[in-house]
């Protein structure tokens, strides 16, 4: 008994120490955002008079809400679109596999291997001609395509674990594949779909290459907002921290709230 409670204490200390170390950079950034610029570069200290000055300045300088709205629109919009494409595709491959299914899956994943830097100019020219430059919608399309392979793959593996008997019971009753998909599979697979969607939202929210290159103001998300604080003249660390916290806070909160969901759905078919 003595031994086990010793173990527990040891475990608690270890668990918390590691967690705090991993989280420390974010904590330190949050702390810095409430300091003055001079305090931000002087000897680290936990004792200071917190100020909201940096936040006020960031709000004054840039239209945070516009950037944040674009981020929300782009990441949730692209996720919904990707799911709309992916759910039927994954359903088809999981329940009606053909000889070509494994090959198709591999090929889909391989489209993600294109380095964005290499194809920037072609995409930029296409966007110019289609009038999609600096539109949130254009970015949404890119993100949909960017995340589609992973979304399909995650759903595919999740669907494969759905007990086929339930679907077959429905088939005996003469449901069509469309009905089967919408009335049987989707309700059953909600946890997997939700965590797939979450992952896609996170990846879109944090993408910084396309957003910086294809949008400038009207369609620009929070990654572009950060770019305007990254290295201005003079002391900038406190303001940068404030802007950074504002850029990551929404997705961090969403991620934390859905952590349980994320864990239960991230199986990739690897859990039996």
């Amino acid at each position: 008994m003595q031994n086990s409670s010793d173990n527990k204490l040891w475990l608690t200390v270890l668990g918390w120490t590691v967690a705090l170390m991993i989280f420390f950079p974010i904590f330190w950034m949050a702390l810095t955002s409430f300091k003055t610029e001079v305090e931000a570069v002087s000897t680290p200290s936990l004792l200071f008079a917190p100020t909201l000055e940096n936040y006020a300045q960031v709000f004054e300088r840039s239209d945070y809400l516009k950037f944040a709205w674009n981020s929300i629109y782009v990441s949730f919009g692209s996720t919904l679109l990707a799911l709309a494409f992916a759910i039927p595709a994954a359903y088809s491959m999981a329940f009606f596999p053909s000889k070509r299914t494994p090959g198709t899956l591999l090929w889909m994943l391989s489209t993600k291997m294109m380095p964005p830097v290499g194809v920037l100019i072609p995409i930029y020219l296409l966007f110019r001609d289609m009038g999609l430059l600096d539109t949130a919608t254009g970015l949404m399309i890119i993100y949909t395509l960017m995340n589609l392979p992973i979304v399909i793959w995650m759903l595919y593996t999740y669907f494969k674990d759905v007990p086929i008997e339930i679907l077959e019971a429905g088939r005996v009753d003469g449901v069509t594949p469309v009905q089967e998909l919408f009335m049987l599979l989707i309700p059953l697979a909600i946890p997997g779909i939700a965590s797939t969607g979450l992952l896609s939202v996170i990846l879109s929210w944090n993408e910084a290459f396309w957003s910086l290159n294809l949008t400038s103001s009207q369609g620009a998300p929070l990654t572009a907002f950060i770019a305007s604080y990254s290295a201005p003249q003079g002391l900038f660390w406190a303001k940068l921290s404030a802007a950074s916290l504002m850029a990551i806070a929404p997705i961090l909160v969403v991620g934390w709230m859905s952590q349980k969901q994320l864990v239960s759905g991230l199986t990739f078919g690897a859990v039996k």
């Binding site: 610029e37 001079v38 570069v41 002087s42 004054e60 300088r61 840039s62 679109l81 709309a84 039927p88 100019i121 930029y124 020219l125 110019r128 289609m130 009038g131 999609l132 430059l133 600096d134 539109t135 949130a136 919608t137 254009g138 399309i141 469309v178 919408f182 910086l212 290159n213 400038s216 103001s217 009207q218 620009a220 572009a224 770019a227 305007s228 604080y229 990254s230 290295a231 201005p232 003249q233 003079g234 002391l235 900038f236």
Partner: protein, 439 residues
């Protein structure tokens, strides 16, 4: 059915958003996130109040990101920007490619003659002016006078690099967080190479000979780069190879650097008590010389220009003349303090008693700007213009490659000799690929 309607509605959203057009009087301004530009953005509310028919739309980005965005936009004729913030490097090149609107018919009260001649020349191509200067800078030597005094030193008005080295060695006290000298080390043509080029110039070297053959392994380069690396390694702060202008400004204004050789535009901030802990101890002198004074200090200006593809040229020009006018400078003086007005552009600023009183560095800055000559950067003849850069499109890439390798030498990965040998061959390659010697 649901699937199809989803796709249809997705396609519909797509089309409708793509078809949205911008109002004709929106002026989209692409600019860098420097302190002076941020002030401009703040004060522009007044411009909008005076011109209710013009809406300003700001795109503020970090310098390198901005440059890449603007170049892509203009070179592909995408027309997203109506006013662009570019420097003396880009203006003549872009003007020559017919990408910018030549500026004519400026209002009489703009008083173009009041703008310093050397700056106007830098922003022109074949006699046509393509941009209006927002601020301009040269380079000079800043020092922390209390640290120098403590070491029993005094800075001459025109120091030599040898003197700088001796002083740096005496001030250097890393145990107490004080470093002898802070120089740009962050790789980039506009970062470490700006300083290194001026050092090469003053040692009598040049980037290219008259036939565009690179001279990067010449003895002048060896001396200049050798000294640069010695100074940084022996008397510089840790992390020198990732310090650029901003990082050094932060170091200097928190009292950690004895000597800092950088842009004159830093002066305003160093004298500003809310940004600088050393406001009472800043000293300044001209940029150091070695063998010759040719090209020992640079010339740069951030300027506003209108791309040919803009759909709001008249409104854009109206804004530009406002933001670079005498009255704008007055406005900044009144709201931000006279030490913080955009420097280096107008004679009238330097004649203004309020500015002279607030900015003790003003005469030295004016002298540096007026004596910088981009057409004669080296004692030897050169086929290019530009003190701290070479005015050809390839230089962005060349300068950055060389800067990267020198940063590698600074970090101790290779010797100066090896570094220069390798950049000599890589620059030769790039130049050959670009088709030099041309004509």
């Amino acid at each position: 059915m649901k699937l199809q309607s989803l796709i249809v509605s997705a396609a519909a959203t797509l089309l409708s958003t793509a078809a949205v057009t911008q109002a004709a009087t929106t002026v989209t301004i692409g600019t860098v996130n420097n302190g002076d530009m941020i002030v401009m953005q703040k004060l522009s509310a007044r411009f909008e109040a005076e011109n209710p028919d013009i809406d300003l739309n700001w795109v503020v980005l970090e310098e390198n990101v901005l440059r890449q965005r603007l170049t892509t936009d203009i070179a592909t004729g995408s027309g997203q920007f109506d006013v662009v913030t570019i420097g003396t490097y880009e203006v003549p090149i872009w003007g020559g490619k017919d990408w910018l609107v030549p500026l004519e018919g400026l209002p009489g009260d703009y008083d173009l003659d009041d703008v310093l001649q050397s700056i106007r020349d830098g922003l022109s191509h074949e006699g046509k002016l393509y941009a209006l200067p927002f601020y301009a800078e040269s380079s000079m030597t800043f020092y922390n006078s209390s640290l120098l005094e403590k070491a029993g030193l005094s800075m001459p008005d025109q120091p030599t690099w040898d003197q700088v080295k001796v002083m740096a060695s005496k001030i250097h006290d890393p145990g107490n967080g004080v470093y002898g000298i802070c120089l740009r080390g962050k790789p980039g043509w506009g970062e470490n190479m700006a300083l290194v080029s001026t050092m090469v110039n003053t040692f009598g070297g040049r980037w290219f000979d008259e036939n565009w053959k690179p001279e990067l392994d010449s003895p002048e380069w060896q001396q200049a780069v050798g000294l640069y690396i010695e100074l940084q390694q022996k008397y510089g702060p840790p992390g020198a190879s990732s310090n650029g202008f901003n990082e050094n400004q932060a170091l200097f204004s928190s009292g950690k650097c004895g000597i800092w050789i950088d842009a004159t535009s830093a002066a305003g901030g160093l004298y500003n008590r809310s940004e600088s802990q050393v406001a009472d101890n800043v000293g300044f002198a001209q940029a150091p010389v070695a063998v010759t004074s040719h090209g020992n200090h640079w010339l740069w200006s951030w300027a506003l220009a209108i791309p040919k593809t803009s759909d709001a040229k008249a409104a854009a020009q109206k804004f530009m003349t406002w933001a670079t006018s005498k009255s704008y400078i007055e406005m900044v003086g009144a709201s931000e303090g006279w030490a913080s007005v955009p420097p280096g552009t107008r004679k009238s600023t330097y004649a203004n008693p309020k500015y002279k009183a607030a900015a003790p560095f003003a005469p030295a800055v004016l002298e540096a700007i007026q004596t910088a000559d981009p057409t004669k950067p080296s004692v030897q003849p050169v086929p290019y213009t530009g003190v701290q850069y070479v005015g050809i499109p390839e230089f962005q890439s060349i300068g950055t490659q060389v800067g990267q390798t020198i940063a590698g030498a600074l970090a101790g990965q290779m010797t100066v000799k090896q570094a220069l040998k390798s950049v000599q061959s890589s620059v030769s390659r790039t130049m050959r690929r670009a088709g030099y010697p041309k004509k």
